[in-house]
Symmetry: C2
Subunit: 245 residues, 2 copies
């Protein structure tokens, strides 16, 4: 595993300093924010806290790479992580970003197998980790956690299959339009969408090129469906129109 961590600790209640953008979390609040744990009793939380181990990764380091054995669950407490894959022909595709509270490593956690994706820290990052065997014991002891994880998995699977179908059947222009609409849902009721990543990354995420993103956005703007306010800000002028792109 290409982990080259600075510090590893193995004790309860380690606290960090907050960073400027307010995304800081100590280990405990990190754990308690994770949906799969947030229904537990304080006593159970303490038990989990005793199992976790803090790790730090510097910007550019990989939490794991394809081929690494998948035996650890990572929960992000600070920083930002990029999950991406290389296709058989070597092209990179962005799968998703992880922010504090998100977790990864789960994909292969339950099969005895290796990772197929890269998890790269794109900022200095702190994560809480639990080993596979300890996590499995936890699941056997508290079956309600399993149901939470199953719920999370089924949701992600649904998303992934939907994404697959989009790639398989929709034009680039439509994929961009659908992406904008989904961004809007989160900010809800504001007409202004803030792109959550660079257009280069967006291209990778949507399976296209930066050039095509640029061109298609211009086209969509020219027919009056959107207005490009700035590099990252886009105003939605005609939602129904976008849906029919």
């Amino acid at each position: 595993m290409s982990v080259d961590s600075e510090t590893t600790c193995n004790h309860k209640h380690q606290f960090h300093h907050c960073n400027s953008d307010g995304t800081c979390m100590d280990d405990e609040s990190c754990i308690s924010l994770v949906p799969i744990f947030n229904h537990l009793e304080p006593a159970q939380m303490d038990e989990i806290m005793s199992l976790i181990r803090s790790l730090k990764f510097k910007r550019g380091e990989n939490l794991y790479s394809p081929g690494d054995p998948a035996n650890t669950l990572y929960i992000v407490s600070e920083g930002k992580i990029k999950i991406y894959r290389l296709s058989e022909s070597g092209k990179e595709q962005l799968i998703r970003f992880l922010r504090p509270g998100d977790f990864t490593g789960e994909l292969a956690l339950f099969s005895d197998t290796v990772h197929e994706a890269y998890a790269e820290a794109i900022e200095d990052t702190s994560v809480c980790t639990i080993t596979r065997s300890e996590f499995n014991e936890l699941l056997l002891k508290y079956p309600s956690i399993s149901l939470k994880v199953l719920s999370e998995f089924s949701h992600r699977l649904e998303q992934s299959e939907k994404q697959t179908t989009r790639f398989a059947t929709e034009r680039v222009e439509t994929r961009i339009a659908l992406f904008l609409i989904e961004c809007m849902d989160k900010d809800s009721r504001s007409q202004i969408v803030e792109l959550p990543m660079s257009k280069k990354d967006l291209a990778s995420y949507l399976g296209t090129t930066p050039e095509s993103i640029s061109r298609k956005l211009t086209e969509i703007e020219e027919v009056g469906l959107i207005e490009q306010i700035s590099n990252k800000k886009i105003k939605i002028l005609d939602l129904d129109g976008l849906l029919n792109v």
Copy 2:
């Protein structure tokens, strides 16, 4: 739900007659073949058997359609089921086929939501069903089942993300080549691949058109990597070559 089943029964140990192709299973062997259950004790199996309910679907009927509430797990005991989605723009994409022993409905089983795909019986089909609430109770009572389901989910998620990346980054020709290689892995060591579906369905599965499938196969044949024996049979002549298409 567009279920219009012929018979519904709710008792243990209902037996069916075997059909000609040997895919028949009575309910119990159906259940015991499912990976998520096959580690259980006989007594636990009996308990599960008491929860299941048999349903039959005629060719062409839908087990569920998008918008139907997802509250049932379906386990196929006889027949063949096609899972497909419609994209936002109305194009159909084949997700997978289910054969005896496979299950579906799990996607949204753990989230309180509705189906987004179609499950259509393409032959007369028998399924065993368990309701969401009963299945959840089962999972809480026997946590080891959860681990099996999690394992199955994580594998499927891995597959789905891999498929997404292929669609996002690979050309049609490459997708076809990779599909052939994966088909070969199953039959292992025979050089002859039997396509598991019509080329029309394969086109839908691979996110392309029947015309392109036909043309690309011809091209791959012309450069000597494969030989098309018959409509459904393809002989692999140069595996390494295929990998580099």
